[in-house]
Symmetry: C2
Subunit: 369 residues, 2 copies
C-alpha cells in the first residue's frame, strides 16, 4: 500500500503520544508476537539473555548508532521510566548541594525537570517562558550573561510537545549540554557530539511507551555521584549493556524495527525534509486563514512535530473537532493544560493526513469565517 496513506481500517492518529507507528512495523510485530525468527517462541516470551533477544538488542543499538551517527564515545541505553524518570535521575547523578545547573524553562516538562533538579542541587533558570505562556524558546541572545559560570550542565527540551515550539539549533553554552528530545528524537539530524546526554521517551517518534532512549558520553557518566540506588546509576546500565536487570524487551524490539524503518526512509535528512513539508501544509493553512486560526508558537521556533493553534472563536472548536472526526482524524484536541487544537505529526504520521487536515481547515474556515 501507499506509504503516504493509511489502511482503510485505520484512521489518522494525531495523538501526541503514545503515537502512530509505521504500519510495516506493526505488521512485523503481529507475526513476531507469535513466533519470532522460527524460534517457536514469541518476542514477548523470550529471555532477555537468550540468543534471539541478543540479536534484537544488538541490532537495535547498531541501527540507532547508524541513524544518529553516534560514536563509541557514547553509550546507547534502553532504560525505563520515561523522561519523567530522567528528570530526577540526571540531577541525582550529577548535581549536589554545592553544584549548579542551567535549566531554561520552555514548558510543562522543563518545569517538572526543574522541580526535580532543585531537590538535588542548585538550579539557575536563565530564561522563563511562563510569563508569555511559552510562545517561544530563548535565543542565544536571551541567554547571554544569564548562564552560570560553573554550571555542571545545561539542560534544555529541544521540542516542547504541549506548546509546539522547538529550538531551531541547540543553545550556545560552554556547559555540558543535556537534551530532552522526547518529542522529536530522530525527526531531524541531531548533533550528538555537542551533547553529553540526550534522552527521549520512546512513545512519540521511536516506539511504544515504557522504554527511554538515553545516549550518554561515557566519560561524563564516570563523573556521576556515588552510592546511588543501583537502578538510578547510569554506570550500571552502561556496564551491562542495558541488561543490568530485565529490560523492556518488547519496547526495545519495536524501537529496533523503527530504526530500520528510518534507515529505509533515507535517514534523518530525509525525515527532516518530509517532516518540514508535512508541518508546512498545516502552518500554511493557519497563516492563510486571515486570523481564523491563531498559531500558538512564534513563527521562528515552530515545532515540526506538534502544530498548536486555536480558533479565533473558541466556541467553534467543538464543531471543528467533530468535522475532523467525520473525516477519520483523531487526537486533535489540545493538551488539557492549554486547550485549542494540537496536531502531532511525528515521523510515522502520513503526509496524506496533513493534507486532509489542511483541507478541512480551509473548508471549515470558509463555512464559518
Amino acid at each position: 500500500m501507499n506509504a503516504n496513506a493509511v489502511a482503510t481500517d485505520r484512521i489518522y492518529n494525531f495523538s501526541a503520544g503514545p503515537a502512530v507507528l509505521p504500519e510495516s512495523v506493526i505488521e512485523q510485530a503481529q507475526k513476531d508476537l507469535w513466533n519470532i525468527r522460527d524460534s517457536g517462541i514469541g518476542i514477548l516470551e523470550h529471555s532477555h539473555r537468550g540468543k534471539v533477544f541478543d540479536r534484537v538488542i544488538e541490532e537495535a543499538e547498531a541501527d540507532c548508532r547508524k541513524v544518529g551517527n553516534i560514536s563509541d564515545d557514547y553509550a546507547v541505553l534502553f532504560l525505563q521510566g520515561g523522561a519523567s524518570t530522567q528528570f530526577g535521575q540526571i540531577p541525582m547523578n550529577f548535581l549536589g548541594p554545592d553544584r549548579i545547573a542551567d535549566y531554561p524553562n520552555t514548558g510543562e516538562w522543563t518545569t517538572k525537570a526543574i522541580k526535580d533538579a532543585k531537590k538535588f542541587g542548585k538550579v539557575n533558570v536563565p530564561f522563563d517562558g511562563a510569563a508569555e505562556n511559552f510562545i517561544r524558546v530563548p535565543t542565544d541572545a536571551d541567554l547571554e550573561g544569564k548562564l552560570s559560570p560553573n554550571a555542571r550542565y545545561f539542560h534544555y527540551c529541544s521540542n516542547n510537545t504541549i506548546f509546539g515550539t522547538r529550538y531551531p539549533t541547540p543553545p550556545r553554552t560552554d556547559a555540558p549540554l543535556i537534551c530532552d528530545a522526547s518529542s522529536e528524537m530522530f525527526s531531524r539530524p541531531i548533533d550528538t557530539d555537542r551533547h553529553v546526554l540526550i534522552y527521549a521517551g520512546a512513545q512519540k517518534n521511536l516506539g511504544p511507551s515504557g522504554v527511554t532512549l538515553v545516549i550518554i558520553r561515557r566519560d561524563f557518566a564516570e563523573t556521576a555521584n556515588s552510592n546511588l540506588m543501583e537502578m538510578m546509576d547510569y554506570r550500571n546500565h552502561i556496564k551491562n549493556g542495558s541488561r543490568y536487570n530485565t529490560p523492556p524487551t518488547f519496547g526495545i524490539y519495536i524501537m529496533g524495527l523503527v530504526f530500520k524503518w528510518i534507515l529505509e526512509q533515507g535517514g534523518l535528512e530525509s525525515m527532516e525534509r518530509r517532516n518540514a513539508a508535512k508541518a508546512q501544509l498545516i502552518y500554511d493553512a493557519i497563516d492563510e486563514s486571515d486570523g481564523f486560526y491563531v498559531g500558538h508558537s512564534q513563527s521562528w521556533c515552530r515545532s515540526h512535530m506538534n502544530v498548536t493553534f486555536r480558533l479565533k472563536n473558541p466556541d467553534l472548536e467543538g464543531a471543528f473537532l467533530k468535522a475532523a472526526a467525520e473525516q477519520r482524524m483523531d487526537g486533535l484536541k489540545g493538551h488539557r493544560s492549554t486547550g485549542g487544537i494540537r496536531a502531532s505529526i511525528y515521523n510515522a504520521f502520513p503526509r496524506a493526513g496533513c493534507e486532509t487536515l489542511a483541507q478541512l481547515m480551509r473548508d471549515f474556515a470558509n463555512r464559518h469565517g
Copy 2:
C-alpha cells in the same frame, strides 16, 4: 486447541522470564496491535489519556482486584523499572539514617535488595541463606529472637527464581510486611491484608517485561519520606492512578488480558492446584531417580514455579539439554550463577510440557543411569 498443549509451530518455553504467555492472550494482542476495539488505532498507538486506554487500565485494575481479592485500602499501581527499581524505591520512601528494616537473605534478589536498602538506612538480616547456598528459606523458628524490635518493615522474597525455593506461608513478624512476589505473583492465593506492599515485575506470571505491579496500602504510602524525586514517590502514582506520567501502556494491556485469563481458569485456587500438580510431575521424576537427579531446594520449601536440580554427573548436563531441545523444550539451562537445570513453569506453562520433561528425565536416567 487443547489449552494443555502447545501450538505446533511453538515449543515448550521453560524460560525464567520473560516467559511463556497464554496463547489466547497473544492471539488477541496480534489483532489489537493493528486496530483495537474498532477504534482505527492499534493498542501501541493510543494516547494513555484517551477513552480506549481508559477502559484498558480501568479493567486491568478491576480484574487485578478481583483476582487477588484486593480491597480499596490498597492502591493497585502499574509502574516501571522492575523489581530492581523497587529494591531502591522502597527504602528511599520508608527508611532513613535512624530507621531499620528486616531483610532475610534468601538469594540473589534479596542480596540486591539489601544492598540498596543499606544506602538509605539500617538493615537487619535475621537469616542469611548464603552459607548453605540458599537451599531453603527461614522458618518462623529461625527468625524468632532475630527480628528488630522497631522494624520499619520486614522485606522478603516469597519465591526465589534462581534457587527454586519459596515460603510456604508468609513469615511471622509484627513489622509491616513487604513482599517481592515477582516470580510467583498470582500463582497461588495471596493474603494481601497481611502485607503493606507487594510488588512483582510482570515478566514471569503476569505479562511482558517493563511493567511492575505494585499493591500498596494507602495509609502506609502516606508515611513515606518527603522531597523524593517525583517518579520515586508512590503517592504521585497513587494520586494519578498510575498515570502520573506516560505508563507502559502495552504492558498494562497485556497484564489486563492475563488477569482475565486467570479468572477464566477459575482464579487463584485453581491456578494453585494446577501449578502444584505440574511441579509435582517434575519433583517426582527427581525423587524417583535414585539420586541421578539432585534437587537444589529442601523439599518443604520447594518452589512450584522454578524447579531447580542438577545431574549427579554434571558432564551429562549438555547431553540432557540437547535431548530436551530435540523434544522442543527450551530454556532449561540453570541461571548463570548456579548452573544445573531449571524448569520455570509459570501459570501459562502447559501441563503437557511438564509431562514431556518428566518423561525425558526418566528416559534419560534409564539410558545413562
